[in-house]
């Protein structure tokens, strides 16, 4: 009985890692498209986002089945409930990557974003997402705690982007729409950072049983 349960937990773990890998892929694609101004990126990100959605449903069903059939307690219960919360965050990451890809399509290959630190932001976000999934894979509480601090860096990037965009619009009011699009992209990255933080918090919860409120 227990061995069957362990096997199911392992399958859950495997699917979580796969979902995390999909999220990483989606953001990496978006970051690359931002660098090369590839307006076609939406077509590539969309299927990944759909796959992430499907994975969320699969994992949710698996968790529910585990909860009902095995009635887990203690650490097992924490792992499953943490997984249930984490997939919501991962699904949001996928959606936001898709949203960014859509906005990149609107930019029509224009490249006036040199003044806004979007590249750095994308890199920092990818790092956070990768690390949060690494933390989950290795049950690494220390790494998860480090991620909580990294979110401040992304927040700082967002504030900086906002300041520069305000300046940009003030100097050239006709850039208004463009600046707003960039602001949206920056905001989405900032949100992805928040989701990565959430994932890290749930990793800490699943290992220690304490959920830190950010």
């Amino acid at each position: 009985m227990r061995s069957r349960f362990d096997e199911q937990l392992m399958l859950l773990n495997k699917e979580m890692i796969e979902m995390g890998a999909l999220c990483e892929d989606a953001i990496e694609l978006v970051a690359k498209a931002l660098e090369t101004n590839n307006a076609e990126i939406y077509k590539k990100v969309r299927p990944i986002s759909l796959e992430i959605d499907q994975k969320e449903k699969d994992i949710e069903a698996r968790c529910m089945k585990l909860l009902l059939q095995q009635q887990p307690v203690a650490r097992d219960l924490r792992q499953i409930s943490a997984a249930l919360k984490m997939i919501t965050d991962m699904e949001r990451i996928g959606d936001q990557a898709e949203d960014i890809a859509e906005i990149i399509g609107y930019l029509n290959g224009e490249n006036r974003n040199g003044s806004v630190p979007l590249q750095e932001m994308a890199k920092a976000t990818i790092k956070m997402v990768t690390e949060s999934i690494d933390a989950y894979v290795n049950k690494d509480v220390a790494l998860a705690e480090a991620i909580l601090k990294e979110d401040d860096i992304i927040d700082e990037y967002f504030m900086e982007s906002k300041r520069r965009l305000i300046k940009m619009v003030a100097e050239n009011p006709e850039n208004g729409e463009y600046a707003l699009d960039l602001l949206m992209v920056a905001k989405y990255f900032e949100r992805i950072g928040d989701h990565a933080t959430n994932i890290a918090e749930w990793v800490i919860f699943s290992v220690t049983g304490v959920h830190e409120e950010a």
Binding site: M10, K14, I17, E18
Partner: protein
Amino acid sequence: MKKKIFQSILNVTVVILFVSLMLITGVLHNYFQKIQNQQLKEELTLAALGVEQRGISYLSGLGKQNNRITWIASDGDILFDNQADITKMENHSDREEFIEAIETGVGSSLRHSYTLTKNTFYEAKLLSDGSVLRISMYQKSVLALLWGLIQPFGIILILAIVVAYFIAERIAKQIMEPLDEIDLEHPLREESYEELAPFLKRIHYQKKQIRWQLEELNQKKLEFEQVISHMKEGLVLLDAKDQIISINPAAMELFQTTLECIGNDFLSVERKQKLTQTIEKAREEGWGQVRIEKNNREYQFDVTSIHTEKGIIGSVILAFDITEQRNAEKMRREFSANVSHELKTPLQSIIGSAELLQNNLVKNEDVPRFIGHIHTEASRLVVLIEDVIRLSELDEEQKMEKDEISLYQITAEVLESLKDKATIRKIRLNLEGNEGRMTGVYRLLYEVVYNLCENAIKYNVDGGNVSVTIKETEKEAGIIVEDTGIGIPVEHQNRVFERFYRVDKSHSKKSGGTGLGLSIVKHAVSYHNGTIELTSEEGNGTKVEILFPKS
């Protein structure tokens, strides 16, 4: 064991009990019957006497407790019966014992009643008056006797079970004791039951065999681990569920993991979709290959699934670092492109001049200039082709004759041949240091020194200095070429040894050269296992230091 012994004891007891019961019942039954018959006859004789003397009054005095006595008249009518109502009894003239008594004087018979499981004995005697006196007695049949014995027999059986249980326990313990005490680690030292000797021998032999096989297995495993741990390529073995069975140090470094990952899912060490998909593909098609950039290096992953008759039992992932290979490929591509370009440029120039001459578009006084131009360009081509040949010779790593040579002497020769070039630009050449003796290929070392000194002059300022110092220590010989020239900007310093690499991108013909000089130097130096160190500052000159091991 105990159960078996108990069973046997009980079985034997039950069988013995049953057989004795049968025998005893049979013997006893016969014996009782005989005695009873005797008694009955005696009683009849007595009764007959009584009746002869006292008549019916004797019989009525007997009462009911005795055996049944019937007095039958000679015609079969009942005259008296001490246990039944004579009026209700039928005529007895057809009874066996009666007929027999009438005929022979005495008669007897046995009648069996199955319903009552009892036998009735009859004895009859003819009296003097012709009537017959009959006496009868019930006797229980064998079945009835058996039935009566069942209760004591049951008690004996229960007793037998209890006794058998305790005896079985004791016997089992006694039998088992020596068996329990056998030291299976050293089966041959035991002095146990003789009957066990073949087993113990066999155990001993098998133990030896197992130990031997285990050792062999361990040895094989160790060999395998040794082999894969010294492999430069990363190797990961997965089972059918993609869990890691084995991983070698190269792969651990590649995936940045430790031995702890063994038994975990492969996804936990690497979750790149490309690789996961390749593993999946290998499972379906038997083989898959993918190139992935990791840790800033390019890796090629070959995934093969392991098939047996039972289906797929796992996969093997082999990772090659193909960064160098990729760079080499890139360099080769660039080299061919560069060579074609470098060859084409002078040829275009030659063709252009030749065409002009052919079509008489050149004034007579300009003809020598054009022909000179063709000559210069053709010579340039020859130099370039010679350089390329030299480089490809070095690439082929042909074995060349090594001699004892002196760097000082070579440098002196080089400077002598470059003297004219230097004098034109008022550049002072200076040579100092000791002999610089070493073993090497004269032609290559001459090339090295020539190229370095030529560059030092070519990229110098007019009126500058070139100083060459030869060094010799116990183990090394070296040459330092220093100039006061234009220097090499920092960002180019790493690349000047590449083929056709030029700091001045315009490929200016002014300085001449093919762009292969330093590349030849690099190859020639590495042919002699030497090292090159380049220090330069833009505008302040360049210093190149080359050190060769002496042998």
